[in-house]
Structures are given as structure tokens and as C-alpha cells.
């Protein structure tokens, strides 16, 4: 995912990508047929990457320049992003693994395969490669119980925000909200006064609430209310966020907003793309999102009101909780890993070879080649910004090249941003960067980020469903507080207690 894309694409992205038929039978067959990737025999570097958009030509100037830069041919297996997790499983079952596989998250497939020996543990192997060594905290968060089965791909550490319709705020003479209480006040004003001239829902939230652990807007809000981000310390023990009263307070807040008609009634089923559409068409004035949406939203408004798109968006950043303190929701600091196969990279020497190339690819020059292509051919620089050359840009619509999935940039991205099309956009970007810096100081980090519990790997998806469902049911008013607490208890008795004790054991060992 490029940094301009929203982070929590989550299962909804693949929700409409279907898998028909029996899982087991399909796998058994697929194991024999997959032949992509290829080993190191031909001297090429084989990588498997998720594809967003259209794959660049393997014979294009950008890739040729890249191959010349690393002194190796590059053999990319592109897999459409929606099918990526399935393809990973199938590839793992085959006997021809690419040398470098992008793993999108610490899911069961990745963790269990890595622990069975599919990927190199890089914990002591990266010191020689300065571009592959990152911030110690993120490295720790990206590890799996002390092992590092891949090079993490750096992402902006702070992205959560609340966005408001700036023109509506102006019309009603309201300030950009600072706290969750302000958010409610503004929602009340929006719904009552109808500054857009039509009925609107106030705050817009999507179906993401039904899945716990997506780093979704619901979880931003919970943390703003003071709940831990994933796991937190309470009374000397690590507890999951939903065991805290603050977490429940956030649900109560949303439930009362929903009861008072300040939250879209169909929040349980609203698809995220439809949520964006409603915001653009004035059917709601507040969203909780990742801050890149400030730019994408204003671009959409720009189409309706050329040149003035940016004036429709007020970016508030992380909101202050009811306790008067700001608890900001950070990203994990990375998004996925570049994992190196032990099957196709057999010896330490071969590993050094691959790491050396990756190190080179993540230099400033390498990142530029991967993300933007060749200067003068694919893009030109204009001050600190880049401008894609029409007809030769490596990514569709002026975004980064799909090859930038190979960028780890452990110390942070050095690639320039695209030139803002209007001063309004420039102001929005500046505001975003300012808020990121402000909120990073109050970031609430996941206390169990580097820990993976065995039971969670085995049962996590089914268990977390209980939490997601309970959250939605409570906000929708289908269950009361007693029912909600019973559901949380069900999580604990159905296997959650084991997860809690495993996480606490692991944390003491570290």
C-alpha cells in the first residue's frame, strides 16, 4: 500500500473477492500447479508483490534502469491485491517460492509458516545493511516473539483523524472540534441546522465496526476515550482493550449518538466506498478516518468546485477524550514485511546477496527508482515535489509505481511527494503534517505489538468476531449493557483467557 492509500483496507477489501469451493481440495491441487517465482538459478531476483492498479511493463525503461542499478534481473510475480492472501497460501504449498515474498500482516499463515522454517529469521543479520535497520521500537513491534521473519515496511506512524465539513462549520460559526464532546456538539448542530440544505446523518461510520482489530475508525475512537490500542497495561497485567471501561465508554458514546440520530443508522452495513460517497454528497458531515483522506476527499470536492476542494475539509487530528487528555491512535509504524524464503535462498551467503540488493533498493536512489521511475523519463522534479510526465508515469493517475511495494524504507520514506495542484492542497498537507507531529507526542502504543499468542493464531479470527459483533449490536441498541458484558465474557471463556495468559507470559519473558 502506498502511503497515499488508506491504511485499514482490511477484510472489506477482499470481502467481495470470493473463494468458491472447498478450501482443502483446492489447496491440495494448487500445490502441484504453481510455478511462479523461480529460484536464483538464472541470477534474477524473484519477488512476489501485491498489485494495486496496473502492473508496469517488465521491459519498460523504469524497470530496466532498476535492473541496471542493482545489477540483477528482476522477476516480479504480480498478484492482484484482493487475491494476495490466497496466493500466498498456494505459493507456500508449492516448491518454488520466490526469494522475496511480501507478507501483508502477522496472520496465521505467516506466523505458522515462519515458525516452521519458511523464512529467514533476520534478527541479527541486518546490522551490516544501514537501509534495512529502522527504529528500535518499530522493529520490536514488527517482530514475532523476539524473531524477525522479514524486513518491515515503514509507514507514517500517525494517521488517525476526524474530518469535518469546513464549509458547514463556517456556516454555523463553529470552531474545528478539539474533543469528542465537541464532535457530538457539532454533529447535533449539523443534524439540526442542516447546513447543507438537506437531511444529513452527522457522523458517518461504516461496517468496519463488525470486525475487531482492523485499526478502524471505531478503534481510533476507543483509544481517544482512553482505551489501550490493542493491548494495554492495567494493574500490572496486559489486558485487551475491550476489557477496559474506557472501551465501553466509547461504545456508550456511539450508542447514544445513534439513538439521538447523530450517527448513520445503517452503520452496521454501510460499505466504506458508500460512506465516502455520502460525505461528498452532503449526507453526513463528519468522518473518522486516516488523514490521507483529507487529500482524497478534497480532490473529490475539487471536481465539483474546481480549485476550492480543499476549503471543504477541516482536519481535526486525534480528538481529546472525556478525561481531558489526548490519547492518539498511532499506526503500528509498518505495513507488512519483505520475507526471505529459506527454500530459494539456501545459504547465508545467498542471504547476504539478497540483503545487499534490498539495501541498495532502499537507498534514496533505489526508492526513487522503485516509486517514481527514471527522472526525466517518468517524472520531473519541481522544488521538493515531483511531477509525473504525462503518458510516461509509472503509476496510474500520478500515484507511485506498483513496484514501490518493494520499498521497506526502514528509516522513513525519502521519496518526494507529488506536487499539490492548488495552494489549498498545500495548506491541507501542511496541516496534516503539523497534526501528525502534534499527535505523535500523545501516541498510545500497543503494549503487545511484538507478541503473538499461540491461541490467538489458532482461534483469533473466530474469537474476535464475538467482540466485533457485540460492539455493533450494542451501538445499534440490539443488546443492553448486560448483554454486551456477557459477550465480552464469552470471548474470555471461549479461549480468550488463554490468549491473555499467553500474552502475559510472553511479555514477562521479553
Amino acid at each position: 500500500m502506498t502511503s497515499t492509500q488508506r491504511q485499514f483496507i482490511g477484510p472489506t477489501g477482499s470481502r467481495r473477492a470470493f473463494l468458491a469451493g472447498s478450501v482443502g481440495l483446492g489447496l491440495a491441487l494448487a500445490g502441484c500447479s504453481s510455478n511462479e517465482g523461480g529460484g536464483a538459478s538464472d541470477g534474477a531476483l524473484s519477488v512476489m508483490l501485491p498489485l494495486f492498479g496496473t502492473a508496469p511493463s517488465a521491459k519498460g525503461k523504469a524497470q530496466k534502469a532498476l535492473e541496471k542499478f542493482i545489477g540483477r534481473r528482476l522477476n516480479v510475480t504480480w498478484v492482484p491485491a484482493a487475491d494476495y492472501p490466497d496466493k500466498v497460501t498456494v505459493t507456500l504449498a508449492s516448491d518454488k517460492l520466490p526469494q522475496i515474498m511480501t507478507m501483508l500482516k502477522k496472520d496465521a499463515t505467516f506466523v505458522r509458516s515462519a515458525q516452521a522454517g519458511a523464512f529467514w529469521d533476520l534478527i541479527d543479520k541486518l546490522r551490516k545493511y544501514p537501509n534495512l535497520v529502522g527504529d528500535a521500537k518499530i522493529t520490536q513491534a514488527a517482530s514475532i516473539n523476539g524473531s524477525q521473519y522479514g524486513i518491515f515496511r515503514w509507514r507514517d506512524p500517525m494517521r488517525a483523524t476526524a474530518l469535518f465539513r469546513a464549509d458547514w462549520l463556517d456556516k454555523l460559526g463553529l470552531d474545528v472540534p478539539e474533543s469528542v464532546d465537541d464532535l457530538r456538539t457539532v454533529a447535533e448542530a449539523f443534524v439540526k441546522e442542516r447546513p447543507g440544505g438537506q437531511k444529513n446523518a452527522g457522523l458517518l461510520l461504516s461496517e468496519w465496526g463488525g470486525t475487531y482489530g482492523l485499526d478502524s475508525p471505531y478503534e481510533f475512537l476507543e483509544t481517544w476515550f482512553g482505551a489501550p490500542n490493542g493491548w494495554g497495561e492495567r494493574g500490572g497485567k496486559l489486558v485487551p482493550a475491550f476489557d477496559t471501561e474506557e472501551f465501553f465508554e466509547a461504545q456508550r458514546f456511539l450508542r447514544s449518538m445513534r439513538q439521538d440520530g447523530l450517527l448513520n443508522a445503517d452503520f452496521a452495513t454501510l460499505a466504506t466506498v458508500d460512506l465516502d460517497k455520502r460525505f461528498f454528497t452532503g449526507k453526513g458531515g463528519i468522518t473518522v478516518v486516516t488523514d490521507d483522506a483529507a487529500l482524497t476527499y478534497s480532490t473529490a470536492f475539487d471536481n465539483k468546485d474546481p480549485g476550492k476542494g480543499a476549503s471543504y475539509i477541516a482536519n481535526a487530528g486525534n480528538l481529546v477524550g472525556p478525561d481531558g487528555a489526548r490519547h492518539s491512535f498511532p499506526t503500528p509504524g509498518y505495513s507488512g514485511f519483505l520475507a526471505i524464503s529459506r527454500q530459494s535462498v539456501r545459504t547465508e551467503q545467498e542471504l547476504d546477496d539478497v540483503l545487499r540488493i534490498l539495501n541498495k533498493l532502499n537507498s534514496t536512489k533505489g526508492q526513487e527508482l522503485l516509486s517514481l521511475g527514471v527522472e526525466g523519463t517518468n517524472y520531473e522534479m519541481d522544488g521538493e515535489y515531483y511531477v509525473p510526465i504525462k503518458g510516461a508515469e509509472v503509476g496510474a493517475n500520478g500515484t507511485y509505481s506498483p513496484l514501490n511495494q518493494l520499498v521497506a524504507a526502514c528509516k522513513g520514506l525519502t521519496v518526494p511527494m507529488i506536487k499539490p495542484s492548488s495552494p489549498g492542497f498545500k495548506k491541507l498537507s501542511a496541516r496534516r503534517d503539523e497534526l501528525r507531529e502534534r499527535d505523535l507526542k500523545t501516541a498510545v502504543h500497543n503494549a503487545a505489538a511484538g507478541l503473538v499468542s499461540k491461541t490467538e493464531i489458532a482461534q483469533g479470527a473466530v474469537l474476535n468476531q464475538i467482540i466485533g459483533d457485540a460492539r455493533v449490536k450494542f451501538i445499534a441498541g440490539e443488546i443492553d449493557e448486560k448483554g454486551y458484558r456477557a459477550e465480552i465474557k464469552r470471548w474470555h471463556t471461549a479461549g480468550g483467557d488463554k490468549i491473555v495468559s499467553e500474552i502475559n507470559d510472553l511479555s514477562q519473558k521479553q
Binding site: 477484510p11 472447498s22 478450501v23 482443502g24 489447496l27 448513520n264 445503517d266 473466530v462 468476531q465 460492539r471
Partner: protein, 322 residues
């Protein structure tokens, strides 16, 4: 057909008498070798694409990990099955699956028969044909489109049907999230999508009914209703039985795509069925072995139901499937 015309195909030369069952296998194989050759592609197809993959089912008895493969994954015996039957989710999912399956058999299965009988009564061929064509078009739409249409019509606040119903009754029904409305919506979708297509086979069976039978019945004073009951229905009964037995094999297949698209946090208690459960376990949680065990359990039930219903059909004097 005369003997000479057949002999040119080398299949049954009339000069040699047909071998009895006692003739040695080799002689019979030699004699019918071309027929066996014709059979070969079909047999190979089933062996390679239907039977060979069944070996993959061994992962239901393993703790399968794709990276280790079938040969490298450890054996766990019946552990996954024990887990399934003792799981607190099992009764609920089994109940939901059976409920939907029963509704399918009771409502969705007879619908094409009724529609076919109604179409059969139409006199004007043009009307009959156009209705037939129009009602089977939905069959060609994917479930994604059907679900999108449902969302458009039934969404809260903005759905046409929801607004209409709620404005009319003054109620506040949320069709898409109300657990009580989940099954009716699923059945409605199935009816809309499958009924027209299903009528084709019954209409074909209806064309084979001998018109003389109707004439005879009319002479005996049978009215339209009695003609349908005593002539038409017995004539298509064997088709109905075969279709019923075949559908029993898919009894527990409640349609993954259809349900997955309609499921949400609020209707999950009634919506979760084996297909969606296997998906979240197998794909989202990576428990391939467990989900294969669940799938296998479902398949075994399906086989049992096919044999069972076939046996019943034969007991009631119908020809059955085999």
C-alpha cells in the same frame, strides 16, 4: 436399424453371436474395445479431477501447514472432528444450516414446478415463451449483483422497499440487519434468481406428455384441475424425483456467496452457516485442517442424504437415480 449398417462401425458384427455374461472378460473387452475407448476420457476426467483431489481430504486428519505440505504436516487423527462436535458454535451453525436447507427444499425447490405447470396452462405461445425467457434471465446474474440490488432496495433510510414499507406502516424495519428478516430475504433472492431457470427442465418434461392422455381424460369428464392432477403430475413425477434426489446432495450447501454477502454483525446469529464458518476459519484464520474437516462432515451428510432419498424413492415405486 439393419445389421449391415451397424457392421460398418465395427461395433457389432452380426455374424458373431453376442457373448454371454460367461464369456471371458478379455473377449468382452476386445469385442467392445471401441466403446471402452469412448468411455476412457470420461473415466479419466473423473479419476483426475474428481477422485484424485479427494486425497487432499487427508489434511482433515492432520495439522496441515501449506509450507510443510501433506507429507510434512503432523497427524492428529480425529481431533478436528472432536473439536467441531464439541464446539459451542456447532449447534447454532448446524441449526441455521438445517433451517435454511429445509426452507430451500420446501419453498425454493417446488417453485419451478408450480411455475412450469402454470406456464403449461397458457394458451398463447408467444406469451408463454416471453414469460419463460424473462424469468430465467436472473439466473445469469452473479450473487454479487443480486446482493447489490437487495442492498439498493432494502437499505435503511435510502432503500426503495424499506422506505415504502416503513412509510406505509409507520414502522422502522431494518430488513438487512433484522435477524427475523434474514431468512425471508435469502429465500426471496433464491426464488428470484433460480425459479425461472429451474422451470426449463420441467417444461421439457411436460412436452413429452402424450396429448392423447388429455383427450382421453377430457372424454371421461376431467376438468383442467383434474387433468393436471391425474395426467400432468404423474407424467413429470420421475423428473421431480430425480431433481429432488440430486438436490438432496447439496442439502447443506446453503450457498456461500449469497450468504456471505448478506451476513453482518446484527444478523449473524441466524446467518452463520457451515459455508461461511469454513470460510472464516480456513481463509481468515488459516485453519485449513479444521475447515476441511467441517467441509468433509458436510459432504458425508450430503452423500448419506442422496442414498437415503434414493432408497425412499424406490420404496415408493419411483425409479430413483440409480
Amino acid at each position: 436399424m439393419t445389421g449391415t449398417s451397424v457392421s460398418s462401425t465395427q461395433i457389432a458384427p452380426p455374424e458373431t453371436p453376442p457373448p454371454t455374461a460367461k464369456a471371458p472378460l478379455r473377449a468382452r473387452a476386445r469385442r467392445y474395445r471401441w466403446l471402452y475407448l469412448l468411455l476412457l476420457p470420461g473415466v479419466l476426467y473423473f479419476l483426475i479431477f474428481r477422485y484424485l483431489p479427494m486425497f487432499g481430504l487427508v489434511i482433515a486428519f492432520q495439522d496441515y501447514l501449506p509450507f510443510l505440505g501433506i507429507s510434512g504436516s503432523p497427524w492428529v487423527g480425529f481431533q478436528h472432528f472432536e473439536e467441531l462436535f464439541s464446539s459451542p458454535d456447532f449447534p447454532r451453525i448446524m441449526g441455521n444450516t438445517l433451517f435454511l436447507a429445509a426452507l430451500n427444499i420446501l419453498i425454493v425447490f417446488p417453485a419451478p414446478i408450480i411455475v412450469a405447470l402454470m406456464l403449461n396452462e397458457l394458451r398463447v405461445q408467444v406469451v408463454k415463451r416471453s414469460i419463460q425467457s424473462l424469468i430465467y434471465i436472473p439466473h445469469f446474474l452473479s450473487w454479487t449483483i443480486v446482493a447489490s440490488l437487495t442492498y439498493l432496495l432494502f437499505a435503511l433510510d435510502i432503500g426503495a422497499v424499506t422506505s415504502f414499507v416503513n412509510d406505509l406502516t409507520g414502522g422502522n424495519v431494518a430488513f438487512l440487519t433484522d435477524p427475523d428478516w434474514f431468512r425471508p430475504l435469502i429465500i426471496l433472492q433464491s426464488l428470484w434468481k433460480a425459479t425461472g431457470w429451474g422451470t426449463i427442465i420441467y417444461l421439457a418434461a411436460l412436452t413429452s406428455v402424450d396429448p392423447n392422455l388429455y383427450e382421453a381424460a377430457k372424454l371421461d369428464g376431467a376438468n383442467r384441475w383434474q387433468q393436471m392432477w391425474h395426467v400432468t403430475l404423474p407424467a413429470i413425477a420421475s423428473t421431480v424425483v430425480v431433481m429432488a434426489i440430486l438436490s438432496m446432495g447439496n442439502f447443506l450447501d446453503t450457498g456461500f456467496e449469497q450468504i456471505y454477502l448478506m451476513i453482518n454483525s446484527l444478523n449473524r446469529p441466524v446467518a452463520e452457516v457451515f459455508d461461511t464458518y469454513v470460510y472464516s476459519l480456513g481463509i481468515e484464520q488459516g485453519s485449513f485442517s479444521y475447515s476441511t474437516a467441517v467441509g468433509m462432515f458436510k459432504a458425508v451428510i450430503g452423500v448419506a442424504l442422496v442414498f437415503g432419498s434414493n432408497w425412499i424413492a424406490r420404496r415408493f415405486g419411483q425409479r430413483g437415480l440409480f
